[in-house]
Symmetry: C2
Subunit: 215 residues, 2 copies
């Protein structure tokens, strides 16, 4: 498989980790988002949204949207499952994944900060306040849910890694990159660290990819 | 089943439409979001995120996050399918659903507008500009994809209603409620109207629910 991604992209991290966990070989083409490569006609012909990841799985057009890709990999490569088998815990794993992938991550993307700076004449620093709002809101709800819901285990849903954890580590990596205070979220931290301790996930970490700043 | 929802909530509309299409009986408790009922302890005990929908399917805690609920309903009530059977078109339907549910809808929620007004001292009118940015970006990408990708049919993916269409009508209803210009998006319009012509979807429309303003 061939994937268009970017070192910092949270969504690319999720897919990279799933491919590694399932043992699916792939090559990744790194788009320079800061240089605007994702807005060029060449890439818009691949994904009109101008977003990564875009994953080629056959001769057809690429798959897009990280959670859709994770579900596709689950359906076509079920040997290493990344969702619980039963509908109830499966729905909880998906709810936790979407709390991050729908309600948290889209609010801190570069396109949102750029729009805020442009529309409201904000400095980069002032626009970053919105990023911190997004992270803090998401982390606070996650901590409450993970610490109080009986479904939590070694990982977010029970004792096996799921899509929820792949979303969590993508958020957690962002807290490091953007300097978000994580001290109020001990349960989130425990689970993120358990997931990042897995070699397949560690190898997919943003800071281990080409283009990333030296640690 | 018992669902906590709100007439204007795009995510509640998606779930309501799926329940109707699958013929699953339910009752809905309408939370007054404008009055802040979703932020009260009673509701936070139901969903710590303070968001609707929250769907009780048994004696356990409720299911949350609309796409997770749609997948749960698909797995437990497969008789009226709302996703294609094959992984490839299934992934496309999910990608289109997530383009709306992850990358568009979360940017125009009341909590985002409230935060923008508070953090950047904006009037309600100025904060609404961000809502229009979110709608316009999402609709533009959707129009390009739907008009150019061979998977499009009577509905977003082929000729059967899927999760993608339920997300689309939830976005489309928002264009009416918030006065978004839809003239540049004829393919989006054609499919949204085809979906809204289904009785099960029409009955779920925001403006047909208790609490909605008279048309």
């Amino acid at each position: 498989m061939k994937m268009y991604g970017n070192w910092r992209s949270a969504a690319s991290f999720r897919v990279r980790a799933a491919l590694n966990l399932k043992g699916i070989p792939y090559e990744e083409v790194f788009l320079d988002i800061d240089a605007g490569e994702h807005t060029q006609p060449d890439f818009l012909a691949i994904n009109p949204q101008g977003a990564v990841p875009a994953l080629f799985v056959d001769d057809g057009p690429p798959l897009t949207q990280s959670l859709a890709i994770l579900d596709y990999l689950e359906e076509t490569h079920p040997e290493v499952p990344l969702l619980p088998a039963d509908p109830r815990p499966r729905a909880r794993a998906r709810s936790l994944a979407q709390l991050i992938a729908c309600d948290t991550h889209p609010l801190y993307t570069p396109r949102v900060r750029k729009q805020l700076m442009k529309a409201y004449d904000l400095s980069k620093e002032r626009a970053m306040e919105f990023l911190h709002f997004a992270f803090t809101n998401g982390l606070k709800t996650l901590e409450t849910r993970l610490a109080s819901e009986p479904g939590s285990g070694r990982f977010m849903q029970g004792d096996a890694v799921s899509h929820a954890d792949l979303c969590l580590v993508s958020l957690w990596a962002g807290t490091g990159i953007f300097g978000v205070d994580t001290s109020p979220y001990p349960t989130v931290k425990r689970i993120a660290e358990a997931c990042l301790a897995l070699d397949a996930v560690a190898r997919a970490h943003p800071l281990k990819q080409p283009g990333a700043p030296a640690a």
